[in-house]
Subunit: 354 residues, 2 copies
């Protein structure tokens, strides 16, 4: 069944949510979006992998990007979507198919925006950076995403969230020597050695710097742990994957130096690193947008592709329906009212009041 | 090619090793052993699955079991056997086809032993207990394995190893609450909670009780650890698989009570439990055997089917060629001299000096 972009934003969100698109399984949803946009005469559509770029080409003075990832974290017994009249519940409702649906509505309805718009619907944001659809598009066709300003429709409770924290992931590795578990004294247990890694994580006290009036809140967490050879063998390796989320006043290098200090004496392997982005609310395009949609900007804790836009020299903010605290939670949901208000505010900003 | 039981024990071991019999693939080897023993007039042969029982029926006052499993752990690029003149190398040479070959030689050559002998060649010792051929024979035909004493030809460096440690495996489970790792304060980290589990493991002091003059050495070890949902999510569960190897003065219930005390406050799930076996060296048949083969008995650390015989009310010891430390290792091997000395000592004990 094709996506119906004439439906209202709530019905459209529900339809998009019900097309399951856990990372690496975005093909169907991308096909459906492509089919819905491809033949609209006011859009120029380019597909790269399972990411789609749709641009108006009106020759306006200003061009803005409105972007959203179409993948979700894994299923957690939370599909299909359920509309209780106030909230829409289900995987991706909050992060971030509500935002995707708003962008789809705008792409379909706003045929003559007052600034040129580049819509980007992209794959694989929730997994390893190397797969990130926005990164791939920017690498292969940088001219497609060039703009004066970007709005990433990540959940932000329908207020502007500025800046974003950086993220660093390292494997902390402990080693031992295998032995039969009946003769443990002949070997050395790598899992036991990881106890000290977990102790340092428990002792960690988060930093909370204030930047441009926004208070950030860092975090250092084990996100994965694995070790073991067989149920009767002392393990010779244990790997703790640690994720450091840091305020944007630290560079990637400073973040790594901090983590190296915390795990001094342990073997480290960096597996992922993405810098934060300073709020940048002083930039005129950002200031205009904040004034247009109203409200008091918040700091962004989660890493988002705002930082990728910053890296491309494009000022960017998060602005989308849904409570960011609910992202990646089984019970994620989005208020129907926020879907409608985000759509209305952006529509108005693009000069297309209903 | 049929097994040649007239060959010497070294050649026979090599032939048995070269018939690959990784657990669940014992049919060929069992067929070959059956063919070699079936028509010997002094033996009564019964096959159950791929396990074979061969009994002398001389009406002696005493009956002993001589048993060995015919399966091996998985291939590890270590077949065929290789004889370097001092050692025979290859999968199963140590654990325990050397012992099987010694038993085959005795079964073939010792036609009038001074005590009745029940030879048991059985399948599937290296895998889940439910498949164990000795267990199946004892369950289906208990009268076939009844005896006054049992010798399990597991590798013991050709000296008597008495008793065996029990083994208990539990999963120690910690729970938390998922949250995006950028907003860690909204959730609770199950991997961090496992730090306390690892701390208690590190603090553990092994008990080393002396039983019948033999010093045992317990062990409490994490053998597996796993936790994590995604690289940007606080994990809500972490599972530490812990293996407790305990001296045979503790029952299965006492072992579990000890582990429950160590991990007081944590959720436990028992995944495997097998009791130890007391050395039982005070039993006359055991004392006679030790006197006959000489040397100082050692305690057995690894779990073996000695405990199964104990459960059947049959005193039992391990006595076989090969270093038990080499069991399950790629480089396992057996000294030719131990093959010959084990054969000679058992032959003598059965009143059949060459």
């Amino acid at each position: 069944m094709p996506l119906d972009l004439d439906a209202d934003v709530v019905a459209l969100t529900e339809a998009v949510v019900d097309i399951e698109s856990v990372s690496r399984n975005e093909q169907q949803l991308c096909d459906d979006i492509e089919q819905a946009l491809r033949d609209l005469p006011h859009l120029e559509v380019t597909r790269i992998g399972h990411s789609l770029v749709a641009r108006t080409e009106l020759g306006r003075d200003e061009r803005v990007v409105i972007a959203g990832h179409i993948d979700t974290v894994p299923l957690n017994d939370n599909l299909p979507a359920r509309n209780d009249g106030t909230l829409l519940h289900g995987l991706g409702t909050c992060d971030m198919k509500g935002g995707v649906a708003v962008a789809l509505k705008l792409a379909h309805d706003v045929v003559e925006p007052n600034r040129d718009v580049t819509y980007v619907f992209y794959e694989a944001e929730e997994i390893d950076d190397v797969f990130n659809g926005l990164g791939i598009v920017a690498a292969k066709r940088p001219e497609l995403v060039q703009a004066d300003f970007a709005i990433l429709m990540e959940p932000s409770d329908a207020v502007v969230e500025a800046g974003c924290q950086g993220t660093l992931r390292v494997d902390v590795i402990t080693r031992g020597e295998r032995a039969h578990s009946a003769r443990a004294w002949r070997g050395s247990n790598a899992i036991h050695a990881a106890g000290e890694v977990l102790r340092r994580l428990s002792d960690y006290e988060p930093r909370k710097p204030v930047i441009d009036g926004l208070e950030y809140h860092e975090g250092l967490n084990a996100v994965m742990i694995s070790g073991g050879v067989a149920t009767n063998v002392l393990p010779d390796e244990c790997v703790v994957a640690v994720n450091y989320r840091y305020a944007p006043d630290r560079s990637e290098q400073e973040a790594l130096a901090f983590v190296e200090e915390v795990f001094d004496g342990f073997e480290l392997r960096v597996t992922d690193s993405a810098p934060g982005a300073l709020p940048g609310l002083g930039v005129p395009a950002a200031r205009d947008f904040v004034a247009a949609v109203g409200g008091e900007p918040n700091p962004k804790f989660g890493w988002t592709d705002v930082a990728r836009f910053t890296g491309l020299g494009i000022p960017a903010v998060n602005f989308g329906p849904g409570d960011p605290m609910l992202a990646h939670k089984q019970e994620e949901h989005v208020p129907l009212e926020q879907l409608r208000s985000c759509e209305a505010k952006l529509r108005s900003w693009l000069g297309h009041d209903q």
